[in-house]
């Protein structure tokens, strides 16, 4: 079993716990599914490091700045939903490290198929804030990413998009490029039958696909400890014949390293892998949800102590690379960026009936043209 995982890179192998081996004295299933033990991590919650970090200080600062910007977006998005300016929102507060770390490991032209909770990941991978926000004002044009950005619109149904990253990667492999595809999904999606089909297809055809699971503890209200009897999500990879790694999802560098290794494996013809980033959704499932009905507040406090931004901030501060002024500057800049993006989205002219008719097919069909005539008569 370990030989398959050794494909993830020599340096990394020693750091990855052998949690696929039932005889290695692992924590109990309950602990593995819920706890932070037995997973790959580099930065401790208090900001000390477990190992040498394979990033420069400047890269570290950039990752931090990205996480700050993402958090500002998240906070503003919730506020704007409450003001009625944006549709229902699925916050990612607490998952910034997982999303920024994963996206930072990708190449600009790689494919991404992610979910409604992955705004930070999509943004870091190249999806402009403006279009993410436009989509959330209730406008299909938000899905029209610029040429050269290979990101599918956030998937709204749970789990159906994982197989798309298999097809996308398969096409690249057949076309002889070294482009890969990453699909991001939550713990809930691993219960879908489509998870099995996607994992199996990817392994069978050795497609360059990275399966990136953010295990944030809950499928809306249903805890991971009840969703599966597997010791972890990562362990499921073993059944498909691909590497599976459990990583501290609140450690941006650990996620970056793990996804980078998985991407490099895929890019060099080594096939797919599964990364389980263990994290926590600090907020509700969506702005329409009340998590106090199913979660104990003490749980949130426990995870607050493992906050993905705080630990990097502590680390940088220890290096003399963080100041309150810099923090304020980052937050102000991010706030302005998001404000401008919202203003841009709100200034986009209302979509027309004609556009709705015209985007069903490459060319509108005769029945659609009939609708167009009919609608126009009634001032639609």
């Amino acid at each position: 079993m370990s030989s398959r995982r050794s494909g993830l890179g020599r340096g990394l192998e020693a750091l990855i716990p052998t949690n696929l081996d039932a005889t290695s004295g692992l924590p109990t299933r309950q602990n593995q599914a819920n706890g932070e033990d037995q997973m790959f991590g580099l930065i401790n919650p208090e900001g000390t490091v477990r190992d040498r970090l394979p990033v420069t200080l400047e890269e570290m600062k950039a990752l931090y700045a990205d996480m700050v910007e993402a958090r500002v977006y998240d906070t503003k998005s919730i506020a704007m939903q409450r003001q009625g300016r944006l549709a229902t929102y699925a916050p990612f507060h607490g998952q910034e490290a997982a999303q920024i770390g994963a996206a930072a490991a990708l190449r600009e032209d790689d494919w991404v198929a992610a979910t409604y909770r992955d705004a930070a990941l999509n943004w870091r991978a190249g999806y402009p804030w403006e279009l993410l926000i436009l989509g959330r004002t209730g406008d299909e044009r938000g899905g029209q990413v610029p040429e050269g950005v290979n990101i599918l619109p956030p998937s709204i149904t749970v789990g159906g998009h994982m197989i798309h990253a298999v097809g996308l990667a398969w096409a690249e492999k057949l076309s002889g490029t070294d482009r890969i595809a990453l699909t991001s999904f939550g713990d809930g999606a691993t219960s879908e039958g489509d998870f099995h089909e996607a994992m199996n297809f990817a392994a069978v055809y050795q497609t360059p696909t990275v399966f990136f699971c953010q295990n944030n503890g809950y499928a809306i209200s249903y805890p991971i400890s009840e969703q599966t009897r597997s010791e972890s999500i990562a362990i499921k990879a073993d059944a498909y014949g691909m590497p599976g790694v459990r990583v501290d999802g609140n450690d941006v560098v650990a996620v970056l390293v793990a996804v980078r290794e998985a991407a490099s494996l895929a890019r060099s013809g080594g096939g797919p892998s599964l990364i389980e980033a263990v994290t926590y959704r600090m907020g509700p499932h969506t702005t329409a949800d009340d998590p106090t009905r199913y979660r104990d507040e003490s749980e949130g406090a426990e995870w607050e102590a493992k906050d993905p931004l705080t630990r990097v901030r502590n680390l940088l501060e220890r290096q003399g690379a963080w100041t309150q002024d810099w923090q304020d500057e980052l937050e102000t800049q991010a706030s302005e960026t998001i404000e401008k993006a919202v203003e841009w989205a709100e200034a986009v002219p209302e979509p027309t009936f004609e556009e709705m008719i015209n985007r069903v097919f490459a060319e509108p069909t005769p029945p659609l043209l009939d609708h167009w005539e009919e609608g126009r008569k009634h001032g639609v």
């Binding site: 299909e140 159906g160 097809g167 096409a171 069978v204 069903v360 490459a362």
Partner: protein, 325 residues
């Protein structure tokens, strides 16, 4: 010209598409080594190799979802699902992703792909192997649904479907695969998706059908002609987008229409056609529109199949009643 049956016409079309466009790949269960359950892809893996013709795991959602990803990335996948009754696990992919990606991305991405599915009864197959649930696809915006009934149309429509920038559900009538041969041009040609085909011109009544029931509909027209009834026969051949104009023009001429389909009556596609006629040709009608369809029963197993399938006799009777009204 070559004398080919429908199965051979499709096989030839797939070979031509693979030859013509390197973006075309085929994927499906058992389509490589064995040439598929109906041998429609026979010989193609040997000819084009295992990187163009893929045997897949038994996973319809996976096949369609992977084909979708390939299509978005610029390929032209042609997926095969073994039977229409086996396509339902992939329905989520078709409805929620394949049919909508162009809309969801305002044309930034499309899904130029074909899903070939044998359908219909009449061969005494096992349960779930004889479904005619074409209407569940015809109802979905963003899909084109094509149903050839002749070798000539099968080849031309399939090549048009593969060239189409949007997803096409291509339904192949199992009962007709090897039932009739036709002289067709043994070259690459397309038949436009959309227009109905007026198979036979007539003045007194229009018989409208598609897929395997074209066989009985033709036979019924022959019986009626013997009684000096001038019958127009329309093969709808594209359910979506529906050529309403073609149907309405015929009914305006004849004033009478009988719609024939194998699927159950209730909410069958015949209802859409009857509604179109009543909306657009009511004042030309000299009699109510009749439908001859399968019953609202579960499609039966072999020993009851004859009870289910609309017969030539039922079509002739409905036409006579319509002519007498």
């Amino acid at each position: 010209m070559a004398e080919l049956n429908l199965a051979q016409a499709v096989n030839g079309a797939l070979g031509m598409a693979l030859d013509n466009d390197e973006r075309v790949v085929l994927l499906g269960e058992d389509i490589g080594r064995t040439g598929g359950v109906f041998r429609i892809t026979d010989g193609l893996r040997d000819r084009f190799g295992e990187n163009r013709v893929f045997d897949t795991p038994v996973a319809e959602s996976g096949i369609v979802g992977a084909a979708f990803g390939m299509a978005v990335a610029g390929m032209r996948p042609v997926a095969e699902i073994q039977f229409l009754g086996f396509s339902y696990p992939a329905y989520d992919q078709v409805v929620n992703h394949v049919a909508r990606i162009r809309n969801r991305t305002n044309h930034r991405f499309g899904a130029p792909m074909v899903i070939r599915i044998p359908f219909g009864g009449g061969i005494g197959a096992a349960e779930h192997h004889s479904e005619s649930t074409e209407v569940i696809y015809a109802h979905i915006p963003g899909l084109k649904v094509v149903v050839p009934s002749t070798p000539r149309d099968a080849r031309g429509l399939l090549l048009a479907a593969i060239e189409d920038p949007d997803p096409v559900i291509f339904l192949e009538p199992i009962r007709l695969y090897r039932a009739v041969k036709e002289d067709i041009p043994d070259i690459y040609y397309t038949v436009g998706i959309g227009p109905v085909r007026v198979e036979r011109q007539g003045e007194d009544i229009t018989l409208i059908s598609w897929g395997a029931m074209m066989k009985e509909t033709r036979a019924a027209a022959g019986v009626l002609e013997e009684d000096d009834v001038s019958v127009e026969v329309i093969d709808v051949r594209t359910l979506s987008p529906l050529d309403r104009e073609g149907i309405v023009a015929s009914v305006q001429k004849t004033g009478r229409a009988v719609i024939v389909h194998e699927a159950p009556l209730t909410a069958g596609f015949g209802a859409e056609i009857a509604a179109t006629i009543s909306e657009q040709a009511l004042y030309s009608l000299q009699a109510p529109v009749r439908r001859v369809t399968g019953w609202d029963t579960v499609f039966p197993l072999k020993r009851s199949e004859a009870h289910y399938l609309p017969s030539v006799d039922r079509i002739v009777s409905a036409a006579r009643a319509t002519l007498e009204d």
